[in-house]
């Protein structure tokens, strides 16, 4: 199984890339506020520092869940990011891996709030109820948009098949079909809620619920949770770019450097996606209230996702 080996090899790559992406995000965010901002490797410093810090488990916490959930969250989101990256490198896929990735990413964000609510802190509990409400809001349109794109590309639930479809038609899917363009828009709109950054960071709002689920975590546990969050950002922006905007004509030009050029271009593209969907909204919007965020998602992305699904079934 060469694919498994590649998958294992991608894990450290995901770790590095997601922290690097977070560093770039913070730098650009700072520059938009006319500050210098932290150095790009700042997330690495933070991660290592938290790893070697003391770990405190509050006496009120349900110990086993509290201890297990950060590792579970980090593991599932890193694997969730590694699968698409490994498939992109190995140029293969297994049936249903797209569903697996979406599931793992959701799992990671659920694990974070489960751990938070097991800490026994009332703010953790508020964070939990808010996160569940947010999940209902964004998860449905997100999944529908993925289903819509997979219908267009096959229909197939293999991640690499969708990329193959784009290579075959020599066009990115979002440029080729109206339904895919709508699905792409939905997906992009959902990213900032799925990763929980400012207009939708309601479950972990610092000034309202003091980081919500993260409140009682310290040291290595917190490092893992932060890693889970940044690799979710990385994974979702990579997915968004490769599923919808994979421009095959550009990548397949250079045959000599083929693999590396393709990968590099994909990463650059997903960086752009991240800057557009994570950094920019968190710079220019204020945090919404839970009711408003919920309404936002049910009024715009959900109808859009359903439209795109219908259009793709109709073959547009």
């Amino acid at each position: 199984m060469i694919a498994l080996e590649i998958l294992l090899a991608t894990l450290p790559l995901v770790f590095l890339l997601s922290l690097l992406f977070e560093g770039i995000d913070r730098k650009v965010h700072a520059r938009m506020q006319r500050r210098i901002g932290p150095p790009i490797i700042q997330p690495f410093y933070d991660f290592i520092k938290l790893l070697v810090k003391e770990n405190i488990v509050p006496t009120t916490a349900a110990r086993s869940i509290f201890n297990a959930s950060p590792s579970l969250a980090a593991a599932s989101s890193i694997v969730g990011a590694a699968i698409p990256l490994a498939n992109l490198i190995a140029r293969t896929g297994i049936i249903g891996d797209l569903i697996l990735v979406m599931y793992l990413l959701t799992m990671s964000s659920i694990m974070i709030v489960v751990g938070g609510s097991s800490s026994g802190n009332p703010y953790g509990a508020v964070g939990f109820s808010r996160k569940i409400m947010m999940l209902i809001g964004y998860e449905i349109p997100l999944l529908i948009s993925v289903v819509s794109i997979s219908i267009k590309a096959g229909p197939s639930l293999i991640y690499y098949d969708i990329i193959l479809a784009q290579i075959k038609s020599d066009k990115c899917l979002a440029c080729a079909y109206i339904s895919s363009a709508t699905a792409a828009l939905t997906f992009l709109l959902c990213i900032s809620a799925a990763v929980g950054v400012v207009p939708f960071d309601i479950p972990e709002a610092k000034t309202e619920v003091i980081h919500g689920p993260l409140i009682e975590y310290s040291g290595p546990q917190l490092a893992l949770l932060k890693l889970a969050k940044s690799s979710t950002i990385f994974s979702l922006s990579l997915l968004a770019f490769t599923l919808f905007f994979y421009f095959p004509t550009i990548y397949e030009l250079s045959i000599v450097l083929g693999e590396i050029a393709t990968l590099g271009a994909c990463l650059l593209g997903s960086l752009m996606v991240m800057l557009l969907t994570v950094t920019l909204p968190r710079t220019v919007f204020a945090r919404l209230k839970i009711g408003q965020a919920f309404k936002t998602y049910w009024f715009f992305p959900l109808p859009m996702a359903i439209t795109s699904l219908m259009l793709s079934v109709l073959g547009w």
């Binding site: 650009v28 700072a30 520059r31 938009m32 506020q33 006319r34 500050r35 210098i36 901002g37 920019l280 710079t283 220019v284 919007f285």
Partner: protein
């Protein structure tokens, strides 16, 4: 707001790179009330400064005065009260110390 943010992205940051670039500092104005300096020879021992110091940082000491700078609140009242200008305000503001007694020597 979006335009503002994007424009700022390409503007020079407002940051003064204190500590990360040598010799870069926000300028200290002339009137800045920093650490006080005491000229013992000019002092005539009228003890008026002790009466007006709001923090009780000045104590009598052999017909002159001595300062416990850890209590100083940098109001500059002592230098204003002093009839001989024996107490002067300097513009020194970076007083970062490990123990309280070091404040006087910094």
């Amino acid at each position: 707001m979006i335009w503002e943010a994007l424009k700022s992205l390409f503007k020079k940051p407002l940051t003064v790179q204190y500590l990360t670039k040598p010799d870069e500092k926000v300028p200290v104005p002339e009137r800045y009330r920093g650490k006080i300096s005491y000229n013992r020879d000019a002092c005539i021992g009228c003890l008026l400064c002790i009466r007006t110091c709001p923090a009780g940082a000045i104590t009598a000491d052999e017909r002159k005065v001595s300062f416990s700078l850890d209590r100083c609140i940098f109001c500059g009242q002592c230098s204003e009260t002093c009839p001989r200008k024996a107490i002067e305000i300097t513009s020194k503001f970076e007083i970062v110390v490990y123990t309280k007694s070091e404040i006087a020597s910094q």
